[in-house]
Amino acid sequence: MPDFIQSWAPLLAILVSALGAVAIVATGEKRRNLRETWTIIAAVAKFGLVLSMLPSVLAGNYPEVKLMQLSPGIELALRVDPAGILFALSASFLWILTSFYAFGYMRGTNEKKQTRFFAMLAVCLSATIGICFSANLLTFVLFYEILSVATYPLVIHAGSEKAYRIGRQYLVYAITAGIALVAGIALVAVAQGAGSAEGLAAGALDFTGGGFLSPDLSMGMLWTIFICFFIGFGVKAGVMPLHSWLPNAMIAPTPVSALLHAVAVVKAGVFGFVRLVGYTFGPDLTGAMGAAAMLAAFAGVTILLASAIAMTKDDLKARLAYSTVGHLSYIVLGVALLAPHAILGAAFHMVTHAAMKITLFFCAGAIYVHTHKKKVSQLDGIGRQMPLTLFAFGVGAVGLAGVPLVGGFVSKWYLAQGAIDAGSVVFLVFLLLSGLLNAAYLLPIVVRAFFRSSPEHTRFDEASPLMVVPIVVTMLLAILLGVWPDGIFRFFTLSEMIVESVTGTAITALGGS
């Protein structure tokens, strides 16, 4: 059993970007260099705080802080466990890169309301880290709802009629998901004894590796709770048929698409599934009641359909969005398969997909800012003009398809192994098929860019270094994860620890690294 140590670091990690948001608003548009400095300070400080907790988590001492009661018996409590810090590390690290990238992007396109943009981005990161570190369901939903609302101003950033329409759709999905989640948690709370004379026992809603929900509940109640959660997390995780807000939300500026709609917000939904299956219901109960099969079916269908739809999209960001929908479901599928290796792959895929997909979005944004091209069909020969960008795009594309030496291969390998362990050959086929589809919709872009020629793109002319450097860094990250999975922030070890706490089975896939 892990030990819990009292620490304010998780709270500070959450608050630092909220304070950053305040400083950003106070500084305003007129002194924008100072304003950007606040963003960087907040981002680096946040990442530093998260990173500072890593050694103690790896040593089995989980930092924990209990602030106050949110509802009788339920505390506003933060706890840093392997799953939380895995997600927090990837989100906060990528925020630093996204910040630099966003400076280049926002200035390059001369966007309006930049102060609001950077402030809300900082608030979103606060909420995301809050989700990572929530120790119980109520704390989780608190940050989850804040994240939903804080993302809205970013979605409508363009200020056009279309953006508002999409914003409304986004809200309908997000608010429905939020209230479904709250309803589910209320049911859990009552099932745990909130209505009894004694009230809730302390920690009755705390996430517990292997789940805490009693299997004695009636089947109807269990399924009701599960479906509430499924809607609540499924919307953010883009599980079909709850996904349609996500491609539309690409109307937001590309840094938002890259960080929030490939990493923070959507992964919060996926992370919710990890918390749901691994730490609330527990794999045993999820399997026994049949919910795992349902979840796997939804995820499997999403993987295939999303990949197929992505092929038909000419708009680059839309294609990437559908690719995101598909890859999020890889993780959901991994969790739903319940086998230790599948969970390992799922957890690791949260990181690798983040690195690869953010690279692709960064590239799409750089191409747009620099050449104002949005469509795949316009990209002929662009590799001559922006070779670095397009090379990075190629690495990301290859990685998503699951080619070795890029991170995607490692996670997919374990997902596939998990599918075999779970005896689900169907899903193994799905995974392989989708890998082919991935290659089919991403690689032609690279081929087009480098091997076709166009009179427009003849000389070397990259986008601003503010954008290119983050692209190269994320690309290197994606490669590093493939060749040395445990090299960066011990992501692989963390994934193994997640598996152990959820399933109780220790696996040392990399020979005890």
Binding site: M68, Q69, L70, S71, P72, L138, V141, L142, E145, I146, V149, Y152, P153, I156, G159, Y164, G167, R168, L171, I175, T176, G178, I179, A180, V182, A183, A186, L187, A189, V190, A194, G195, A197
Partner: protein, 497 residues
């Protein structure tokens, strides 16, 4: 300390009288005396609240030293302390806010408004403090009469709307009075505490059951519970913002308080659930009201009318929480009394500020207001998010307790109703938020909505708005403290029985 229960309404009644007389001499003196009375009472009620909060015993005071059942008793217990604190807190803020708002919306009539506003507060606090069933009726009508005068201050259309309110209010009050008659002739006392001791033996009596029905029905009518809400939108629309900001948050809630008091402390446990299914009826009526109010609010073009329909729905939450007949639902209802008072007060006051600064009251005209007055609209945003129920605002937590209560009572339809209405209120409040924060459509509008120093809004108006906005957050975050210090004691009769 021991006089607090009776001092609160007395000081207010006196202040109303003095303010009326002083107002004849000098308009400012009228306001000043009224304000002194209100602030003094706020101090008293907070002193009492601290006493109760610290675990102090309820304070009982027999008027004129005539002990019950002959005399009238005033009781300052946890529930009364809670209600009075809410009333006086919101009341004081509105009072500070009112002069500038009334000067614009009902010029020349302020002299009468101050005593009337103080009388409303006197009536409402009196209702919460009295331990006598008939005395409660008297205070109910004092508050109502003063409210009629205030609401009609806007003139023509306001007077007609208020007349309809008066008629329905008379029916509600009359029904309550009929109920009191039945109770009195059955039990021979009007004192609530004695009544509570006598009623368990009499609970099979037809007269007592009829009394329960009449009293709850009368109070439900007074509370503007669906389908007795029809006067409410017109009244709120035509009233000056400050008046609506006083009446909407607290007036209807105090009738809800009276129902809760009857349910918890007068009638025996189980009376309304086993003998006669009154609570179930209340719950279903509330559930329909929640959906009805929320749906109609979506279609409104006038800001105040939208808030009014939203109130119809929100009052349903309180009725629903009571109807769940378990401690969690009751806590949800009581918390919602507080939360809704803060949220609706905030939203009505914001409406007044917008009207002062731009002259606009229609929702489509709100486009771009956020540019002109970002801080006021920031407060509005907090209020709107609270109404939708986004954590960590107060609105989230009342909804949370109500959901727990519904789940505990296994009332799945009501559970679904609460969820559905959250979505509906999200629709109309996010529509407002989008409108407020988007850019003005035309250049002329942009000119008008150009940012100007916020200092143009009088501090007396922006101050209360800001305080309420903070209160909405604090009430949410502090909910457990409120529940464990006050509300757990209030619902103790349910948990024990």
């Amino acid at each position: 300390m021991s006089q607090i229960p009776v001092l609160i309404p007395t000081v207010l009644l006196l202040a109303a009288l003095i303010s009326l007389l002083a107002g004849l001499v000098n308009r400012r003196a009228g306001y000043a005396t009224a304000l002194i009375g209100v602030v003094l009472t706020l101090g008293l009620s907070l002193t009492g609240l601290v006493h109760i909060w610290m675990g102090g015993e309820p304070i009982r005071y027999a008027l004129g030293n005539w002990l019950p059942p002959i005399g009238i008793e005033f009781v300052f217990d946890a529930l009364a302390a809670y209600m009075v604190a809410i009333i006086m807190f919101v009341g004081t803020l509105v009072f500070i806010y009112a002069p500038r708002s009334l000067a614009l919306e009902a010029p020349g009539k302020e002299g009468l408004a101050w005593p009337a506003m103080v009388l409303v507060l006197a009536g409402l606090t009196g209702m919460c403090l009295t331990g006598d069933l008939f005395n409660l009726y008297v205070f109910l009508e004092i508050a109502a009469l003063a409210a009629y005068a205030l609401l009609a201050i806007g003139g023509g259309a306001g007077a007609v709307a208020t007349f309809r309110y008066l008629l329905i209010g008379a029916v509600g009050g009359g029904f309550y009075l009929i109920g009191v008659a039945f109770l009195y002739f059955s039990a021979g006392t009007l004192n609530m505490a004695e009544m509570a001791m006598l009623l368990p033996e009499l609970s099979q009596s037809r007269a007592v059951q009829a009394a329960g029905v009449f009293m709850v029905a009368g109070l439900a009518i007074k509370m503007a519970l669906f389908p007795f809400h029809f006067w409410l939108p017109d009244v709120y629309t035509h009233a000056p913002s400050a008046v609506a900001g006083l009446i909407a948050p607290v007036m209807t809630k105090v009738s809800a308080y009276a129902i809760i008091r009857l349910f918890l402390d007068v009638f025996p446990p189980g009376f309304f659930t086993e003998g006669i299914p009154l609570l179930a009826a209340l719950g279903w009526v509330s559930a329909v009201g929640i959906l009805y109010g929320s749906i109609l609010a979506i279609g409104q073009q006038d800001y105040r009318r939208m808030l009014a329909y939203s109130s119809v729905g929100q009052l349903g939450y309180i009725g629903l929480g009571v109807a769940m007949a378990n401690p969690l639902g009751m806590i949800g209802a009581l918390l919602h009394v507080l939360n809704h008072a803060f949220m609706k007060g905030l939203l009505f006051l914001v409406g007044g500020v917008v009207r002062l600064r731009t002259g606009r009251t229609r929702i489509p005209d709100f486009q771009g207001v956020g540019r002109k007055m970002p801080w006021t609209m920031g407060a509005f945003t907090i209020g709107a998010l609270a109404m939708v129920g986004i954590p960590p605002t107060a609105g989230f937590f009342s909804k949370w307790y109500l959901l727990l209560g519904a789940a505990d009572a296994q009332a799945w339809t009501w559970f679904a109703v609460i969820i559905a209405s959250s979505l509906l209120s999200a629709i109309y409040f996010f529509r407002m938020l989008e409108m407020v924060w988007r850019n003005p459509e035309t250049d002329a509008a942009a000119q008008e909505m150009a940012p100007v120093p916020e200092g143009q809004t009088p501090v007396s108006m922006i101050g209360p708005v800001a305080i309420l906005a903070v209160a909405v957050m604090v009430a949410g975050i502090m909910n457990v403290a409120i529940v464990s210090a006050l509300l757990d004691r209030v619902v103790a009769p349910m948990a024990g029985g």
